[in-house]
């Protein structure tokens, strides 16, 4: 699939795929593994959680079966700080993730509202600044607010991940104009639409806006057939990127026939 030789770079890695795929919510681990494989994604998001009481009987290996599957895929791992509500919590989680997963990449999520899981811009910027100083490559989950994007860029983020819409909503791109403004303002930053994608066409649209990639989870994992949907997103993202690179035609306010008019049989003019 990725045979158009269209590589790109993010976080010091050269990749073919522009799909960042989540590892949660699949019907079962085998389904997750197959979906990730067929998607050809080269970045998978993961997380950290407490071992629940009783897991000690498993000799501390509660998460090992999942982690062994992810390791066997041999792709880049992007740990997240999901569930954190302060910069302090997110920084600690990032530090723990760096040790467990052996990567300085961190998907920074600091949630500011439990209803819509909107990121807290103030705590996100604060955490990003500290984590970058500690050597992390920060992938900040943010809204489509241009000023917040500026603040994140000011503290050294090379990557921005504005939401399409609320996490897990599947509503697509709520404010494509805002996303376009961020793209225009930051032509050199890597921009990923993260969250809210529901259909392959949403991902295509994000790519047509000139975004460098799309991060999604629920749209694949909660599909009727996650493996088939993972395949669909692979094509959708490639199509959107190729469309962006090809240059979309200018919209026109009038109809214009594509078939030559000269030589039209039975020609007549509307009155």
């Amino acid at each position: 699939m990725n045979n158009n030789n269209n590589t790109w770079e993010i976080g010091g890695k050269t990749l073919n795929s522009r799909l960042l795929i989540g590892s949660a919510l699949y019907p079962n681990p085998a389904n997750m593994e197959e979906a990730i494989k067929i998607s050809e994604a080269q970045i998978v998001t993961v997380s950290l959680r407490r071992q629940s009481a009783g897991d000690n009987n498993n000799n501390g290996k509660a998460g090992n079966s999942f982690w062994n599957i992810i390791k066997s895929l041999n792709i880049n791992v992007l740990p997240n700080t999901a569930g954190c509500h302060s910069a302090k919590e997110a920084i600690t989680t990032a530090q723990m993730a760096r040790e467990v997963f052996g990567t300085n990449w961190i998907k920074l999520e600091v949630i500011g509202d439990q209803y819509n899981l909107q990121p807290d811009p103030f705590e996100t910027v604060k955490a990003a600044e500290i984590l970058i100083k500690e050597g992390f490559e920060v992938f900040p989950y943010t809204t489509d607010d241009l000023v917040v994007a500026k603040r994140l860029a000011d503290v050294g983020c090379n990557i921005l991940m504005p939401w399409g819409s609320m996490i897990g909503s599947g509503k697509g791109l709520m404010n494509p104009d805002n996303l376009t403004a961020i793209r225009k303002q930051f032509p050199k930053l890597k921009l990923i639409v993260d969250a809210g994608i529901g259909k392959p066409s949403h991902a295509t649209k994000a790519m047509e806006l000139g975004y460098d990639g799309v991060l999604l989870n629920s749209a694949i994992a909660l599909a009727g057939d996650p493996v088939k949907m993972a395949n669909a997103f692979k094509y959708a993202i490639t199509a959107g990127r190729l469309g962006y690179e090809a240059g979309v035609m200018q919209q026109r306010e009038f109809a214009s026939p594509s078939t030559p008019v000269i030589g039209t049989p039975f020609w007549h003019q509307f009155k």
């Binding site: 989540g22 950290l48 501390g60 090992n64 982690w67 989680t93």
Partner: protein, 67 residues
């Protein structure tokens, strides 16, 4: 004995344990997880110099699925 919280569960452990000794006492392996004490990360290299105190809150996190 001292009383601590491990992943939200109250436990009594021997006084004076460091983190390395604590995770052995709790029957954790030494790989595939990370530790925080009172919401501050404790790196592996600091396990032996970090002493668990009465009332400490310990978080031991392992990889899980994430989006």
């Amino acid at each position: 004995m001292i009383t601590i919280s491990v992943n939200g569960e109250i436990k009594e452990v021997k006084e004076g344990l460091n983190v390395k000794e604590l995770i052995v006492a709790l029957n954790y392996t030494t790989q595939g997880f990370a530790v925080a004490v009172n919401t501050t990360f404790v790196a592996i290299k600091s396990y032996e110099t970090t002493i668990i105190e009465n009332g400490d809150t310990i978080d031991i996190l392992t990889p899980v699925q994430g989006g």
